[in-house]
C-alpha cells in the first residue's frame, strides 16, 4: 500500500492530512461544543481595563509572567485560590504565559495596590530589591489607545454576546458619548498616583499607558466579581 501511495502524490497528501487532522478532531473540537462559560458573577473587562490588557500585550508581559495558578498548595499559598476555567471566559486571547521569570499575576489585584504598581513600573528594584525586571518608564509617557479598546468591547459584545451595556455600540458618535466614562475611571486610578505628568495628562483627557495597565492589573482577582445583592 505504501509503495502505491508513494507514486500517487494526491492520495499521499490526503492520507497525511487525515492522519494529522485526526487528533484535532478527537481532542480539540469537543471542547468547543461546550462554550467557555463565565463563572457566576464575573463581569467583563471595562474599556479602560481592555486598554490596559493591550498594554500588557504590547509590552509582552507574558514573556515573564503567568496568569495560571496551578492546584498545588505551594501555589495557592503563594498566589491564592487556583485558577478556574470560567474565570477566563472574557479573555481573548488567553494570557496564561508559559514562563515565570517573574511571579504569577492571575490574582495580583488582591494583594497589590495602584501606588505599588506605580513605583514598580517606574523602577522595579526600588520595590523589589534584586529584581531583574526592566523599568517601563515609557508607559508613563505613551498614551493608551482607548478607542481600539472600545472597538474591541463593541466587537466582543456583538459577535460573542459578551454582556456589555447598551451604551457600547458601533460608531464614532457612540464612542464620543462613552468616552467620559472611561476618563472618569482613569481619574480614579490617577488620584492614587503621584507622578505629576500622569496626573496632568489624565486631567487633560489623555490616559497614559501605565494608568490603563494598572486598571487591568487591579482587575485581576476578586474585584471583577460583583458583590451578591
Amino acid at each position: 500500500m505504501f509503495h502505491w501511495l508513494e507514486k500517487r502524490p494526491f492520495f499521499f497528501a490526503v492520507g497525511v492530512f487525515l492522519v494529522i487532522a485526526f487528533a484535532g478532531l478527537i481532542e480539540i473540537l469537543p471542547n468547543f461544543a461546550e462554550a467557555s462559560r463565565p463563572v457566576e458573577g464575573l463581569r467583563p473587562y471595562t474599556v479602560l481595563e481592555l486598554a490596559g490588557k493591550e498594554v500588557y500585550k504590547k509590552d509582552n508581559c507574558i514573556a515573564c509572567h503567568s496568569q495560571l495558578i496551578r492546584p498545588f498548595k505551594a501555589e495557592t499559598d503563594r498566589y491564592g485560590q487556583y485558577s478556574l476555567s470560567g474565570e477566563y471566559a472574557y479573555d481573548r486571547p488567553f494570557l496564561w504565559g508559559s514562563k515565570r521569570t517573574g511571579p504569577d499575576l492571575h490574582r495580583v489585584g488582591n494583594y497589590r495596590t495602584t501606588d505599588w504598581h506605580e513605583n514598580h513600573m517606574w523602577e522595579p528594584s526600588s520595590v523589589v530589591p534584586g529584581s531583574i525586571m526592566p523599568a517601563y518608564k515609557h508607559q508613563f509617557k505613551n498614551i493608551a489607545d482607548l478607542e481600539t479598546a472600545y472597538a474591541e468591547a463593541v466587537t466582543v459584545k456583538n459577535v460573542f454576546n459578551v454582556p456589555y451595556g447598551d451604551d457600547i455600540k458601533p460608531g464614532k458618535a457612540a464612542w464620543e458619548a462613552y468616552k467620559p466614562k472611561v476618563l472618569a475611571e482613569a481619574k480614579k486610578i490617577a488620584a492614587d498616583m503621584k507622578n505629576k505628568d500622569v496626573k496632568d495628562a489624565v486631567a487633560a483627557g489623555k490616559v497614559p499607558e501605565v494608568v490603563a495597565l494598572i486598571a487591568y492589573l487591579n482587575s485581576l482577582g476578586s474585584s471583577r466579581y460583583e458583590a451578591k445583592k
Binding site: 502524490p9 471542547n31 517573574g102 534584586g130 472597538a151 466587537t155
Partner: protein, 488 residues
Amino acid sequence: MQSNAALEYDYSVAKLYTYTAILFGFVGMLIGTLIAAQLAFPELNYLFGEYGTFSRLRPLHTNVVIYGFTVSGVFATFYYSAQRVLKVSMAESKFIMFVGKLQFALYLIAATAMVVTELMGITQSKEYAQMEWPLDLLIVVIWVLWGVAMFGLIGIRREKALYISMWYFIACFLGVAMLYLFNNMAIPTYFTSGNLGSVMHSVSMYSGTNDALVQWWWGHNAVAFVFTVPIVAMIYYFLPKESGQAVYSYKLSLLSFWGLMFVYLWAGSHHLLWSTVPDWMQTMGSVFSVVLILPSWGSAINMLLTMKGEWNQLTENPLIKFMVLASTFYMLSTLEGPIQAIKSVNAIAHFTDWIPGHVHDGVLGWVAFMIMAGLFHMAPRMFKREIYSKKLIEAQFWIQTTAVVLYFTSMWIAGITQGMMWRAVDEYGNLMYSFIDTVTVLHPYYAIRALAGVLYVTGFAMFAYNMIKTMTSSRELSEEPQFRSPMA
C-alpha cells in the same frame, strides 16, 4: 532512464533563501544572546529605549529564528533537493519559477513587516503566532504559493516514486497550513465597530481555555512541523548524499513517518498540564508524548545506522559530524520532552528555565546544526566552488557544541533549582522562599547561558563568513562533486 547529468538544475530560488537564512540566523541569534544577557545583567534592557526591553525583544528573537532562519532554511533546502529527488529542473517551467520568486519576494516583505510590527508591540500575544491579521493573510498567500511550487514540481516529475524527504516536506506544508489557519482565527475590530481604533487590532475567535487549547495545539505542532518534520526531510536527503551511504532501513522510515504524523498532534496538550483544560486531554497529551519517543528515535536511529561501517567519515568530514551530532541531539531532545510531559515532572519543570533549556538543545543542536550542514552541502553544488575552509568548519563545530552543552546544562540546573525552591516549605509548612529569592539565585546560570549565546553566535558568524567566502572567492570546481563536499 533519465541520466542525472543531462539535467541542469536551477538554484536561483534556493540561493535567495540561503542568503536570508544566513542573514536572519545571525540577527535572530544575536537578539537571543542579548536577551539572555539581559536576564543576567538587567542594565542591558535600556540600549534601545522601549524597543530594547527583554519582553519586547523575546518574541522578536523567537520569530526571527523560527520564521526567518528556520523557514528560510526549509525553503532553501526544499528548492534545492526537491528538484533533485523529483528529477526535474525549476527551469523547465516558467510558471513554477515565477511562483518561487514571487514567494520569495512576498516572504521578504512579510519578514520585514514582522520585525517592524513586533518592535512596535503590535501583537496577538500568542506565542509563535504574534503576527496580527494582515500579516497572517500574507503568510497564507506565501504558504499557498509554496504548495503550488511543490505540487507543480511533483506534477512534472520524472521520478515517479516520492523520496522520503518529499513525504516530510508535504507533511510540513499540510500540517502548518491546518494549524496556522485554526490558531489565527480572529476578528479585526476595526470593521465590526463602525471603523473605530486601529486597523491592525483583532480579537481571537476563542476565549480562555479554548484559546489556550488551540494555541498549544499550534504551539506544540509548530515545533512538530517547522522544527522536526522539514528537518527530518533534510537529514534524509543530505546525510546519504554527503556520506554516499544508502538509507539504512526503508521500513523504519515508513514506520517513523506515519508514526510521527499520527502521534505528534495529540501531544500538544502537554503544554497545559495542571491547567483548566479538561483532565482527559491532559492525560492524552502526557501519554502520547511518551509514545512519541518511538517515531522520533526511529528516524534518528535510521540516520545513525545509515553511517554503519563508515564511521571513519566522522573524523574526516566535518559535515558528517554536524549531521550525526544533530541526530544525537534530536534523540536527547525527544527523550527530554516526554520526560517533561509526565505530570509529576511537569509540576516542577513547567514555568521554569528547564523549558527553554529543552527547546534550545533541540533548536541549537538539532535544527540549526542540520540547516547549516545542509547549506554547506549545497554551496559547492550551487555556486560551483569548493567550501572555503575546512578548518573553520571544524572550529565552528566545537565552539557551537560547547555552547549547546553550556546552554542546556545551565538551564537544567536553573530550572530544577527554581522549581524546587517554589515549592519548598519549612517545618511548619510555610513557604521557605519569597519569589525574588528564587530569581537572584539564578544569576550564575543566566550568566553561563549568556556566554553560551556568545559562543553560539560566534560560531554562526564563522559559518556565515565561510559561506560568503565560498560564494565569492573560493576555488572554482570544474564538475559537480559526487557525495563528499570538497573543502579547502
